[in-house]
């Protein structure tokens, strides 16, 4: 009994062990000591309370984007455009902050004096920006018949170019444009932080609320059922009377809105300005999170924590060992690859006994 439990535990965590072993080989190839490197990468996050707070803050954009992608994946859509939707959210937020707090605000805008209202509006602006960018991806897919992967990726690069244009053009700081981004936002547009940490309670609350909300929306609402029906078979869902066009667009909009919040919070709570790489690859990482979760919302939280630990450990690894922090990304992607391969092997072993339908995510 005990042994079978151990075997099962080892089996369930096989992707992790395989990833760590492969990573050790790669480290050895790069001439580094795997144990030292892993020590910095995995323990860097647990150095202090402040570092743990950083982990939570790294989890925020991951949770928001992963929540959004649970919606689009339910409808069978690959919203690789979340990265661009994050950027669009950050752009809209930056625009709002600049308009509202600039010296000569347009008519009416100057009346927003309360920080509370400004912060609330900044999040809403981010939602709107992300939702619009998501709608664009959805429209290209639904009306233009452009595969959403390519539509989303193309729009990611366009959003990135737009950000660079704004930072080096109209939004350049008074001292001249640099890669460090726009001038810092005025203090009224800073999300408040907890104590001397870099953790913002608003960010954390929004991120956790989003995953809970999406969990119940997909499980307990008619809309969730409709999306899943579309995801299983678009043609059949259409025949059943589900407005597939509208619901697919809605899925993109909802995902975009959540990603937009993530982008907005990166600007107001983390960097307090717009920087060229404001999305920081979190959109792509969230894609990995959702794949690794097997589309089960309950698994998202522990996976996001694991990814957050690596995000925070990466810089320490780079600082202490001169190894590139991209090792973190190698492990984050590697574990998903092994997860898919191990699942495939297991399914194949099961198929040996009786025929099982393959496919799906």
């Amino acid at each position: 009994m005990r042994r079978s439990l151990l075997v099962r535990a080892l089996g369930a965590t096989a992707p992790v062990w395989l990833t760590l072993a492969s990573g050790a080989v790669i480290l050895w190839l790069a001439g580094a000591n795997p144990i030292t490197a892993y020590g910095h990468l995995f323990l860097g996050a647990f150095e202090s309370g402040r570092k743990l707070a950083d982990v939570v803050m790294a989890m925020v954009p991951l949770l928001l984007c992963a929540s959004g992608m649970l919606i689009t994946f339910a409808a069978g859509l690959w919203n690789i455009g979340v990265e661009g939707q994050m950027i669009a959210g950050a752009l809209m937020t930056t625009w709002l902050v600049q308009v509202v707090t600039s010296g000569s605000p347009p008519e009416g805008a100057g009346r927003v004096t309360s920080t509370f209202a400004l912060l609330g509006a900044s999040v809403l602006a981010g939602m709107l920006g992300g939702a619009l960018w998501g709608l664009l991806t959805g429209a290209l897919r639904v009306f233009g018949r452009v595969n959403e992967i390519f539509a989303g990726l193309g729009l990611n690069y366009l959003a990135l170019a737009l950000t660079n244009y704004l930072i080096f053009g109209p939004w350049k700081p008074p001292g001249g444009a640099t890669m460090s981004g726009t001038a810092p936002f005025p203090q009224a547009a800073w999300m408040p932080l907890i104590g001397d940490t870099r953790a913002s309670p608003v960010s954390i609350a929004l991120a956790f609320a989003s995953i809970v909300l999406v969990y119940f929306a997909l499980r307990d609402t008619i809309w969730g059922l409709k999306l899943k029906a579309i995801g299983l078979n678009v043609a059949a869902a259409h025949r059943l009377g589900i407005d597939t066009t509208r619901n697919m667009l809605l899925a993109f909009v909802a995902c975009g809105a959540l990603a937009g919040i993530a982008g907005s919070l990166q600007a107001t709570a983390v960097y307090r300005r717009l920087i060229p790489s404001i999305s920081g690859g979190y959109g792509y990482l969230a894609q990995l999170v959702v794949l690794l979760s097997g589309l089960r919302a309950g698994w998202v939280l522990p996976i996001v924590f694991f990814y957050g630990v690596i995000q925070v450990g990466g810089p320490r690894l780079e600082l202490r060992t001169q190894l590139d922090s991209s090792l973190g990304g190698v492990l984050q992607a590697g574990v998903v690859l092994f997860f898919l391969l191990v699942r495939g092997l297991r399914d194949r072993a099961a198929r040996g006994a009786r025929p099982v339908e393959g496919g799906g995510l």
Binding site: I26, L29, A30, W78, I80, L140, G144, R145, V146, N147, I149, F150, A151, L153, G154, L155, Y157, L158, L160, A161, L162, N164, Y165, F168, G169, Y284, Q287, L288, L291, L323, D324, S326, L327, G328, G329, V330, Q332, A333, G334, V336, L337, L340, L341, R343, G344, L345, D347, R348, G358, G359, G360, L361
Partner: protein
């Protein structure tokens, strides 16, 4: 623009498009067999880095290209194994490998960032290079560029004029019918996915050893997605795929020519242009052609239709169970 400047520009477009041709024609072979290798953006990065590192370490360009091809083939083999033998979602495997290879290229390539290294020498083809205009454009280049022509013609001949090519297409179109006729569907798919991946790898080395010399962080980022879009735009036909590669190459070259001429246009416009073109190109081939061209004269409509319309292999992305 004077005549010689135009010739030089076209010549540089032909040279700069060679890696895209290797990658997109390679992916065409893969997709014709029914498999999508979505990992191109990562594969090109990793093979560009490996090719450069191997060439620096060995001092041999051939070793560099061979190492890059091996890396490309190996990544493709993982896609093939995961999707054919293990029946995992091809898009999922491909996307994960995109990110994995990109980060691996950054991590393992760190010692080679901005290191000087060898480059493919210029090598005019005697006699052919002396043909006026054409000779300078097509035959006053280097070996990888010549190979990109051969690959395009070769892939077309292979797919449309040979028996194995016919089998390849039948495996991608109707695997059950192909299997009934005794064609080993999955073996054909493994073979073409791996060969296609190796060609993508050669494309990667083409960047780091010829077109965009050396290695830096995310050296070729974005090019894999462009190559994947070109396959769709080219309707899975080698000549049209090559045409698409030249179109994107031209847009890039045009950017670097126009940028100094129009300083008031932000540089980001030129950076974003290939991706805007990518979306527009996919809109054109996505069955919207009739709507978009309805105001044009009918003759032009049908001409555009024959150039731009192509359908994907019938069983693209679908696993097949033998037996």
């Amino acid at each position: 623009m004077s005549g010689s400047l135009a010739i030089e520009t076209i010549r540089s477009v032909v040279a700069a498009s060679a890696p895209l041709i290797f990658a997109s024609v390679g992916e065409t072979l893969t997709e014709k067999s029914g498999v999508v290798n979505l990992s191109l953006d990562g594969t090109i990065l990793l093979s560009a880095m490996t090719g450069f590192a191997a060439a620096v370490a060995s001092g041999s360009l051939v070793v560099g290209f061979a190492a890059a091809a091996a890396v490309g083939g190996l990544v493709a083999l993982v896609v093939a194994y995961g999707s054919i033998a293990l029946r995992q979602n091809q898009v999922a495997i491909g996307f994960v490998l995109t990110l994995l290879c990109a980060d691996l290229s950054s991590f393992l390539g760190q010692p080679y960032v901005r290191v000087p290294g060898p480059s493919v020498p210029h090598q005019a083809i005697p006699l052919l290079a002396d043909i006026p205009v054409i000779g300078r454009i097509l035959f006053d280049q280097n070996v990888p560029v010549y190979l990109s022509y051969l690959l395009t013609v070769g892939a077309w001949l292979w797919m449309s004029r040979t028996r194995p090519g016919l089998r390849l297409r039948s495996v991608g179109e109707r695997p059950s019918a192909a299997f009934a006729r005794g064609i080993p569907v999955n073996r054909t798919r493994y073979l073409h996915t791996t060969i296609g991946g190796a060609l993508v790898g050669v494309g990667g080395a083409c960047y780091s050893l010829s077109v965009k010399l050396g290695w830096s962080h995310r050296h070729t980022a974005g090019m894999g997605w462009i190559a994947l879009a070109i396959v769709i735009f080219g309707g899975w036909s080698p000549f049209r795929v090559a045409l698409g590669a030249y179109l994107f190459g031209a847009l890039k070259s045009l950017g670097s020519i126009l940028q100094p001429a129009f300083p008031q246009v932000p540089t980001q416009v030129f950076q974003a242009a290939p991706f805007a073109l990518m979306i527009v190109a996919l809109l054109l081939v996505g069955g919207n052609l009739a709507t978009l061209t309805e105001r044009l004269p009918p003759k032009l409509q049908s001409a555009l239709g024959s150039v731009l319309q192509g359908s994907p292999p019938g069983a693209l992305g679908q696993p097949f169970e033998e037996g």
